[in-house]
């Protein structure tokens, strides 16, 4: 096992707050808490140290310098911290570990669960520690254990078994008991005053944008996730799990005639919608508003996809891409019809 250990100026023995501006430095072997990791069987080939302020203020340069060393050493695992409750140190540990994990270097940091650095750790693992350095003795064996597992490339069990903080990636496992049995346990627990859940709630809430200041002078576009396409579905938009979106020119059409358009959406009964596709993409009404001068002009194309079975991250990408094109075209407002 070849490990690189990252610490801040203080734990590297370079000095306290007065040395927080220290740029990245490479030290041979283990230093400070790294010696504790060595005692737990971790083979530390080098220690990388950086002042907390330097990292915070020169993140890009700091990462470039640190990866200069990491690329040269090519370790089996990067260990960062423990940073305990220190926010700046935790941020540096989390950010460096995340960047390492993204580059394919297995990485684990250690810090207090409420350290803001936890949120920066991305795909890297974080071992929870006490809030201050008194937790060092307790943290090091756990950190060493996960580091060894990562260095060996062993397949990890869940966060409970391995002792790391859940990163938020939803992964399947066989629970050993049916969902039905687990549901009965959860419900009886809840009735007994102990509420637990296997899935956290929460949704992406999108704040409504500010009102369009001058709609009568604004270029307006029609966008839908209702799966509205020309008859025959020439571009084969899927009825679920669309992998992209489509743009169709309106060619001056005044209404979406059922003979020319339909919905291929697989998430609702499209019978009624297909009798009048304007109820999917309200072109008839929008044209009326255009004639009345209540909107400046209608954009010459409408945008469509099937918003059915689409992971949030994919839907977000569609939104960004469509919005980018619309902005280029000078569109100032969008009428987005959902189903």
């Amino acid at each position: 096992m070849k490990a690189v250990h990252y610490v801040n100026q203080f734990f590297a023995g370079l000095g306290g707050e007065d040395k927080a501006e220290t740029p990245p430095t490479r030290l041979d072997g283990a230093v400070g808490p790294g010696r504790g990791l060595v005692a737990e069987g971790v083979e530390i080939v080098a220690t990388l140290a950086c002042g907390d302020d330097y990292f915070a203020e020169n993140e890009e340069d700091a990462l470039a310098a640190l990866f200069g060393h990491l690329d040269e050493i090519a370790p089996d695992v990067l260990i960062a911290g423990p940073a305990f409750g220190s926010g700046r140190y935790g941020y540096a540990c989390g950010t460096l570990a995340a960047a390492a994990a993204d580059r394919g270097i297995p990485a684990v940091a250690a810090m207090h669960p409420e350290n803001p650095g936890v949120d920066t750790a991305g795909k890297a693992y974080v071992i929870p520690t006490a809030v201050n350095v008194a937790g060092m003795r307790d943290a090091l064996p756990r950190l060493a254990r996960l580091a060894a597992a990562l260095a060996e490339g062993r397949e990890l069990a869940g966060p409970d078994e391995e002792g790391y903080l859940p990163r938020g990636f939803r992964r399947n496992y066989f629970a050993g008991r049916t969902g039905a049995e687990r549901a009965i346990d959860l419900l009886l627990g809840k009735l007994g005053g102990e509420t637990r859940t296997e899935v956290g709630g929460g949704l992406d809430r999108v704040d409504p944008p500010a009102a369009v200041p001058e709609l009568s002078a604004t270029l307006v576009a029609l966008v839908t996730e209702a799966g509205c396409v020309p008859q025959g579905n020439p571009d084969r938009l899927p009825s679920v799990r669309a992998q992209g979106w489509l743009r169709y020119d309106l060619n001056g059409e005044q209404t979406l005639a059922p003979a020319r358009y339909k919905s291929v959406h697989g998430g609702f009964d499209v019978t009624l919608a297909n009798e009048d596709p304007n109820r999917l993409v309200p072109l008839d009404t929008a044209r009326e508003l255009e004639r009345e001068g209540r909107i400046g002009r209608l954009h010459e194309a409408f945008y469509t996809t099937t918003g059915n079975g689409t992971p949030v991250v994919t839907a977000t990408r569609f939104g960004r891409e469509i919005a980018g094109e619309l902005r280029e075209a000078g569109v100032g407002a969008v009428l987005l019809s959902g189903t």
Binding site: F169, R170, A175, T178, L191, E198, G201, G202
Partner: protein
């Protein structure tokens, strides 16, 4: 009145099985077979009193029913019409390899019935295949009528005092043709739901599947016949709880008003059963998850504690929010897995049902396949043990 379910050995399965309009293959446990285009899975059942095993009239869950143990009929159909408005989803059962862990069928004798496409439209063909499959499942159990059962289970609910009263609220899809669950042969939307039924009715063929949405999130008929939730509640009756009964409710109500009304009506049925707590199950995804969340809220507002069972559809490489819909009252959720995760590839020696997957890849060399394409893998009645957790 108690209902009896008598189990008989799989040895009673006839060797020579013919089904009109279909090819039939028997697959023994352990054979390296992949089955594609799977419509439904049904356990062979018959009633010695001559009533239908999948009744469209009268009441199921009374008297005695025979079952063939560890036998499953898998019906397959590659819809012929070019247009597949509501049938874009591949549905696979792997009887060996890594995919076999995602369904309970690999250790059973599978009677694979592959229907031949013909000139009929999708809906007519589906209706034919569905009726033939149920009929086949019944006739396969014929030999049990003159045999001795290996086991007889009795289902009844004697009065219990001093335990929390728990009801199950089971959602059934009705999203139009090819997306129906049937209650006594009626599409869920026309079956007077929400309505309370005797839990034994569900286990005895009152509910059958004709719903071909995402394979992993379907409720094939066999999952009603062997329903793990209802069976667990029977088992716990008198021990940790008092099984108050079962409410069937519709998923995919088509307007916001209808969704809210249906949610409140389901909560009212639970209240009429005297439930202290309910387990709410889900059928398919997206739209139907909103029905479940509103039902959860309506129950909580009626003073009934609720636990929800559902699957996740989330990018395994993302940490973004994971549920299609959610209400704060849904603070107790069982996850039956993330259907977006991939299942490792393997090479089956034989493919039944159809050689080419709907996306055009050869079924024998399809590479890793997402969980969502495995029939029932993330079943949202809690039938199986798959779950998802944050890692």
């Amino acid at each position: 009145m108690a209902w009896e379910l008598a189990s008989f050995s799989a040895d009673l399965l006839p060797d020579d099985i013919g089904v009109e309009g279909a090819e039939v293959e028997i697959v023994r446990p352990g054979e390296p077979v992949r089955v594609t285009h799977v419509l439904d899975a049904v356990e062979p059942r018959i009633r010695p009193d001559g009533r239908a095993a999948f009744p469209t009239e009268g009441k199921a869950g009374e008297g005695r029913t025979h079952r063939l143990d560890r036998v499953v009929v898998l019906s397959c159909l590659d819809f012929p019409a070019e247009e597949r408005p509501l049938h874009e989803q591949e549905s696979i059962v792997d009887l060996a390899g890594p995919g076999a862990a995602y369904a309970p069928f690999a250790e059973e004798t599978c009677v694979v019935v592959t229907f031949r496409p013909d000139e009929r439209g999708n809906e007519q063909l589906e209706a034919f295949a569905r009726m033939k499959t149920l009929h086949t499942a019944q006739s396969l159990a014929l030999a049990t009528l003159d045999a001795e059962p290996s086991d007889v289970e009795t289902f009844d609910l004697p009065p219990v005092k001093g335990k929390p009263r728990i009801a199950a609220l089971i959602q059934l899809s009705d999203l139009g043709p090819l997306y129906y669950q049937f209650v006594y042969g009626q599409p869920a939307g026309q079956a007077g739901l929400p309505r309370a039924i005797d839990p034994a009715e569900l286990l005895d063929g009152a509910v059958t599947s004709g719903e071909y949405h995402w394979a992993a999130m379907r409720n094939p008929t066999i999952f009603f016949q062997r329903n793990a939730l209802v069976r667990s509640l029977y088992r716990e009756h008198g021990a940790r709880l008092d099984f108050a009964g079962l409410v069937l409710m519709r998923g995919y109500e088509q307007s916001a008003d209808d969704k809210q009304r249906a949610a409140e009506a389901a909560a009212m049925r639970a209240q009429e059963l005297g439930a202290d707590g309910v387990i709410i199950t889900t059928d398919a995804g997206g739209n139907s998850h909103t029905d479940v969340m509103l039902t959860c809220r309506a129950c909580e507002q009626a003073g009934i504690r609720a636990t929800v069972v559902l699957a996740e559809e989330t990018d395994p490489e993302s940490t973004r929010p994971i549920l299609t819909d959610w209400v704060p009252e849904a603070d107790s959720i069982v996850s039956t897995g993330n259907v977006e995760e991939l299942v490792e590839e393997w090479t089956p020696e034989r493919v039944l049902g159809g050689d080419t997957l709907l996306d055009g890849t050869p079924a024998a060399a399809a590479g890793p396949i997402p969980v969502r394409n495995y029939l029932g893998a993330a079943n949202q009645m809690g039938q199986l043990s798959l779950g998802a957790r944050s890692e």
